[in-house]
């Protein structure tokens, strides 16, 4: 019987096969490290007198705690500063490469890996961060781990793991204009639920996935964890190779040829069998938005806030009731009537150059809605430079947005960028949990295009609403006729 992409990558990393219910011992090709989930792991090594086994397969950056303004000044929050300084001490002591705040390669760990060409098909990638699933966009097996596992990988470059089950998410058809990778993944999560992917690695397939750029594929794989999955993957193809080739750590010469020959064998065999399959019709999809406090609580932007009674499952009903209360929303309200206080364009889901270009394409030449705070935060210092070289920074600042330095920023309440209690935000990030963007903050997850249109109008909107605003309405025409 044939094998799936996930099974092939897994099989090629088994150091010791697990027998009698024991897990396989899996080799890890690339370990990404950041300041939040590593201090206790380095401490553990120190206590046991163990070195980092493969510093040459390990790379660290600072992202979660870092401010996105005045980055040349000492970090004001003392505990944040201590955590950053601890990472600097640990990486120096154990010989791990670090890109600190201010470095040209600093940024969100899941933006930095692909950008450096370290993320590639057919490898295993781990990081003490659940959004490590992002790297699966290259056909890598990439998943988030806890701090004990971070220590385990630092010490042994392996992890004891049972193989994940496989689920095919097939998206066939053509996405309509204005519908993006973010809308696809929000629709997937709404369909299978936040627990639907538990125990699985998801493989995204079908013509709609194949037509996406690497940035789009990363957005989709990034949020696999929001469906409960361990990992998400897309089979490598020419799009992958074109993105990767020429990057600093991508293979070159004969190594490149050997790699491509191998990568070409990774796609799921025709006769492989998935443990589960889900189908989505790309033609049917519309821009998506979440209304609740978990990423599965989403609907089309043209829809209304659902009533808790509309859910069959009593747990979902209770969750919806709580969510509406927290979000201060009433069932039946059209999502497009919902006003926001802030728009956040950033995070490991949507902060790459293509995301910034998409946002800029909508806001160019426009002015932001009055009273709405708009933050644009590039995913890495490199993305920031690239955007500035294209003049996007001017587009953002002319629009009235704040143009920040790279980091996780307002995706999570660990740095100065936070919502105030009761503030409502359209956010291109990945989690709408209670308090995620700041205590009492209310989050609506959206695509960069919807974020941009929302920033223009001040209410949840899609770019097509802007076109409708610009076109003379029937009433105007009647008025004009009457005046003549």
């Amino acid at each position: 019987m044939g094998r799936t992409l996930a099974e092939k990558v897994w099989d090629d990393h088994v150091v010791v096969e697990g027998k009698d219910g024991a897990p396989d011992l899996l080799y890890i090709d690339l370990h990404l490290v950041h300041e939040v989930t590593s201090p206790q792991a380095f401490d553990g090594l120190r206590q046991a007198g163990r070195p980092v086994r493969r510093p040459d397969l390990t790379i660290a950056t600072e992202d979660h705690n870092t401010p996105t303004l005045a980055i040349d000044k000492p970090i004001a929050d003392l505990t944040s500063r201590t955590q950053i300084e601890t990472l600097r001490r640990n990486t120096a002591e154990f010989g791990v490469r670090l890109h600190p705040l201010g470095d040209a390669e600093q940024g969100i760990v899941h933006v930095v890996g692909p950008q450096l060409g370290l993320t590639m098909p057919g490898i295993t990638v781990v990081c003490g961060d659940s959004h490590t699933s992002t790297h699966g966009a290259f056909g890598a097996m990439a998943f988030g781990i806890g701090t004990s596992e971070v220590e385990h990988v630092l010490a042994t470059q392996t992890l004891p793991l049972k193989p994940f089950k496989t689920m095919a998410i097939t998206v066939e058809g053509t996405l309509r204009p204005g519908v993006t990778a973010k809308d696809v993944i929000l629709a997937v999560i709404a369909k299978i639920g936040t627990g639907g992917g538990q125990g699985y690695v998801l493989e995204y397939r079908g013509s709609a996935i194949r037509s996406l750029s690497m940035e789009g594929r990363m957005t989709i794989c990034n949020m696999s964890i929001e469906a409960g999955a361990r990992a998400g993957m897309v089979a490598p193809d020419q799009v992958t190779y074109d993105y990767l080739q020429g990057r600093p750590h991508a293979p070159t010469g004969p190594d490149w040829d050997e790699a491509v020959a191998y990568w070409d064998t990774l796609a799921t065999d025709d006769d492989a069998v998935f443990d589960a399959e889900v189908f989505l019709d790309a033609d049917e999809l519309e821009p998506f938005v979440t209304w609740g406090t978990n990423p599965g609580q989403g609907v089309s932007l043209s829809d209304v806030v659902p009533a808790p009674e509309s859910f069959d499952d009593p747990n979902e009903q209770a969750a919806a009731t709580r969510a509406l209360e927290y979000m201060d929303l009433e069932a039946g309200t059209p999502l497009k009537d919902v006003h926001v206080d802030a728009v956040f364009m950033g995070s490991c889901t949507n902060s790459r150059i293509e995301d910034l270009r998409a946002f800029a394409s909508v806001v160019r030449g426009r002015t932001k809605a009055e009273g709405v705070r708009v933050m644009v935060v590039p995913g890495s210092a490199r993305v920031r430079l690239e955007a500035e070289a294209e003049g996007l920074d001017r587009v953002f600042t002319d629009f009235g947005a704040e143009w920040r330095f790279a980091g996780c920023s307002m995706c999570l309440g660990m740095n100065p960028d936070q919502l105030s209690p009761g503030e409502r935000c359209a956010s291109t990030s990945n989690r709408n949990f209670e308090g995620r963007q700041g205590k009492g903050g209310r989050t609506h997850l959206v695509s960069p295009l919807v974020a941009a249109a929302t920033a223009v109008r001040g209410t949840l909107s899609s770019p097509s609403d802007l076109e409708a605003d610009a076109a003379p309405s029937t009433d105007d025409a009647v008025l004009a006729g009457g005046a003549r």
Binding site: A48, P55, Q83, I123, I225, G228, D255, E258, R431
Partner: protein, 198 residues
């Protein structure tokens, strides 16, 4: 790690589904660089409410948390497990767990016991009929008992073995160090290396 066989203690009913790790411990507490002392951070947002279950006098000193489905979803933060342990919990019972959370629990001696959804309802009812009642969780027999109700739970056999024996993962893996070294000699040249910096 201490060996884990049977736990008996107050069981607290947490009637919420999708308890994500941001609720278990908000990000502001993740700035610490230590591995203990997180008891103040557990469910920090919800504990501001005096009526929150863990604030009620009858559930003080609880060791078994009984929660709705999809407990521990979201972020990979192991701090969620540390906070539950520091607060005094040895067991979390739920119909479904976030995968990373379940893995983290096993590393830290916290038992994530998966119980059928209808059994969670029955356990809640049994606890609420006599708040403050004790639960006994027997890992060897894989049963949870509250009053005269006993239900089975699922736990992965390998995790169970490690918990019952109190074994350390890294030590176990290093028994296979020769195999790791041998595997590394076969690693293809195209595979990524972070050093030297390019």
């Amino acid at each position: 790690m201490q060996a884990f066989t049977t736990v008996t203690g107050v069981a607290a009913p947490l009637r919420r589904s999708n308890v994500d790790t941001d609720q278990i411990i908000p990000a502001q507490f993740l700035k610490r660089v230590t591995k203990t002392g997180f008891e103040d951070a557990l469910f920090h947002g919800w504990r501001q409410d005096p009526d929150f279950v863990l604030n009620r006098p009858e559930y003080q000193g609880a060791r078994v948390l009984v929660a709705g489905p999809d407990f521990g979803t979201g972020s990979s933060r192991e701090h969620a497990v540390w906070a539950l342990r520091d607060f005094g919990f040895d067991v979390v019972i739920s119909a479904r767990f976030g995968d990373i959370f379940r893995g983290n629990s096993g590393k830290q001696g916290l038992l994530a016991a998966a119980v059928a959804e209808e059994d969670v309802e029955r356990i809640w009812a049994a606890i609420e009929a006599a708040p403050g009642t004790h639960a006994t969780v027997d890992l060897v027999a894989q049963t949870a008992t509250v009053a005269d109700l006993t239900v089975p739970f699922e736990v992965d056999a390998y995790t169970k073995w490690r918990l019952v024996e109190g074994l350390d993962d890294i030590g176990l893996t290093l028994r296979d160090e020769a195999a790791i070294t041998e595997f590394e000699t076969r690693r293809a040249a195209w595979r990524p290396e972070t050093l030297p910096v390019k």
